[in-house]
């Protein structure tokens, strides 16, 4: 049983969002980088739980990024996982990134590929589906529960206004969200062990990016809150009806 967990480096949730170079680059000044929370809390932890239940399983982490992504992948290794692979390139194009991971997935012959449901920077929810297509595997997105019985997975996924349960034979690609597992904090033993776990750097496959970021924009600043007195609720209703046209 081989599991591949995709890990992405993202700005911390509370990071100030600003841009430089004429709004073409994310301003990294003072930004703290974290493992994308969906990758860390749900897909990685669920993979670790599967290995705890089946110690013969191996977990590989993969990230597509430059050398500055290594602290993040070491942090992920501190939680668990046997080794990590860094594809030495960077891109904002989902297809380019997915194609790199698909290459790693093909060569490693994994039974399971886990991603987070999205990254908190690009919010695309695209990588998992693309990997699945490129390696010709079924794909379950937005999983809230994942169980394995032999080589058959039972997955609960979010649908509009509810959820559904599906059974799928491995190999399989799954995007994970809240419910799949509970967040863990790395312990000292894990942090020490992570220092010596193998971190393999591979060069990217020749793939053409299909999109490029032309520029960024910040939303117009809110005009500021209009406060209504608590004894004048009818005024709020009037504003919502006549001014905001929201009711």
């Amino acid at each position: 049983m081989k599991i591949l967990v995709c890990v992405s480096k993202t700005p911390d949730t509370t990071a100030k969002i600003a841009f430089t170079d004429g709004n073409t680059k994310f301003d990294e000044a003072g930004v703290q980088w974290i493992i994308n929370p969906y990758d860390e809390w749900y897909s990685l932890v669920r993979a670790i739980e599967l290995k705890e239940a089946n110690p013969a399983a191996t977990i590989h982490l993969v990230t597509v990024g430059n050398a500055d992504a290594e602290p993040i992948i070491r942090k992920a290794l501190a939680l668990g996982g046997d080794e990590a692979i860094r594809v030495n390139t960077d891109s904002s194009d989902a297809f380019y990134i997915a194609a790199q991971i698909a290459e790693v997935a093909k060569q490693g012959g994994y039974d399971l590929v886990f991603t987070g449901k999205e990254t908190i920077d690009y919010n695309g929810s695209s990588i998992g589906g693309m990997i699945a297509e490129l390696i010709d595997a079924p794909y379950i997105s937005l999983a809230t529960k994942f169980d394995l019985n032999g080589t058959t997975a039972t997955v609960v996924r979010e649908i509009e206004g509810g959820e559904e349960t599906a059974e799928v034979a491995l190999p399989l690609v799954v995007s994970c969200q809240k419910g799949v597992a509970e967040q863990r904090i790395p312990n000292m033993r894990g942090i020490m062990a992570a220092r010596t776990k193998p971190l393999k750097v591979v060069e990217p496959a020749a793939v053409d990016a299909l999109t490029t970021v032309v520029g960024f924009e910040l939303p117009p600043a809110k005009a500021g809150v209009k406060l209504v007195a608590p004894d004048n609720v009818e005024e709020l209703v009037r504003l919502l009806h006549e001014e905001a046209k929201a009711i």
Binding site: T13, G161, L210, A246
Partner: protein, 321 residues
């Protein structure tokens, strides 16, 4: 050349988010000087020709029961076949649960550049540049697609549905439908409630309501507004409300026309789930609550007094209208 719109349905009915995608796709087709066509998978109970009023002229229907449940691989294969048959150079999805599973697969299959989570029509004056939300609604990115075939998935509640006159021609599309590898064994829908991600209005409660037994005032307000109900993370974690109502960075991200937050302080992780709401109303007794900075309207006051009055005032407005 055409714009192909994936029209998502559930239990035979076309989803609201798909009507938005149709309007968007039809407007885009007009901009490109071409026609808008749609594809519907699975058996439906609705009259599909009526979707013509949203601007789609032709609908390809694959009325195969196998497609009543989502298997992203099968869906992507059938949609790609339809895209080839209709000579589509742009394929439009809603960025809803189904779109998130399928659009990326179609894009990878066709080697087509994807913009997932678009919020406006492309700028085609110089290339093909699509605006999308990034950083959980805190910013926008303009993304240029270079490939000849392009895939766009549209954020729900970000493009206004416009219904006019018109009927679409509906034709069965003979696609190759393979064996599904995903077997759906149970569907568990919350009935009688507005789905949170599709709702126009969301009423959300936080720790300020003090306990699950106090949710009645919020439910009354939601009922009066025809709104979906939501909650903050601490409320979900404490099991005061079901987990699926948790709105925020790690929960559900919503983008309704109106978001009413009651007794929620507005931590940055919560705001990440509601940033894309058009109008935000905050009711909180703490004037320093950070949520007021992100709000359009606010009342500093006790929710237990304000909310029932608000419900009554809305009732009165409706009675007068």
């Amino acid at each position: 050349m055409s714009v192909l719109i994936f029209i998502d349905q559930t239990e035979g009915h076309v989803k609201k988010s798909s009507l938005e995608a149709i309007t968007y796709g039809a407007d885009l087709a007009k901009q490109l000087g071409t026609t808008a066509e749609g594809i519907v998978l699975g058996t439906v109970t609705e009259d599909l020709s009526a979707l013509g009023k949203y601007g789609v002229t032709k609908i390809h229907h694959v009325a195969n029961e196998t497609l009543n449940h989502l298997d992203a691989q099968l869906y992507a294969s059938v949609i790609s076949e339809a895209a080839a048959a209709s000579g589509a150079n742009v394929i439009v999805f809603s960025h809803n649960q189904t779109g998130k599973a399928v659009a990326a697969r179609v894009a990878a299959k066709l080697k087509a550049g994807l913009v997932a989570g678009a919020c406006a029509l492309p700028d085609t004056s110089n290339g093909f540049v699509v605006k999308k939300t990034v950083f959980s609604g805190k910013a926008f990115a303009n993304i240029s697609i270079q490939s000849s075939v392009k895939v766009i998935s549209l954020n729900p509640n970000s493009y206004k549905t416009v219904a006019t006159e018109g009927t679409a021609s509906v034709a069965d599309f003979a696609a190759t439908v393979g064996q599904p590898r995903v077997k759906v064994t149970a569907v568990n829908k919350i009935t009688g409630e507005v789905p949170l991600t599709e709702a126009d209005i969301v009423v959300s409660g936080g720790r300020g309501l003090k306990g699950p037994e106090n949710w009645g005032i919020l439910l009354d307000l939601a009922k009066e507004l025809g709104a979906a109900t939501a909650c903050s993370r601490p409320v979900g974690d404490a099991h005061w409300r079901p987990h699926h109502e948790h709105v925020g960075q790690t929960g559900v991200q919503v983008a309704p026309n109106l978001y009413i937050a009651i007794g929620i302080s507005g931590a940055i992780q919560h705001l990440a789930g509601v940033n894309r709401s058009k109008v935000i109303v905050v009711i909180n007794k703490d004037p320093e609550a950070p949520f007021f900075k992100a709000a359009d309207y606010g009342i500093v006051g006790d929710a237990f007094e304000v909310v029932p009055q608000l419900t009554a005032a809305i009732q009165k407005l409706k009675a007068g209208a």
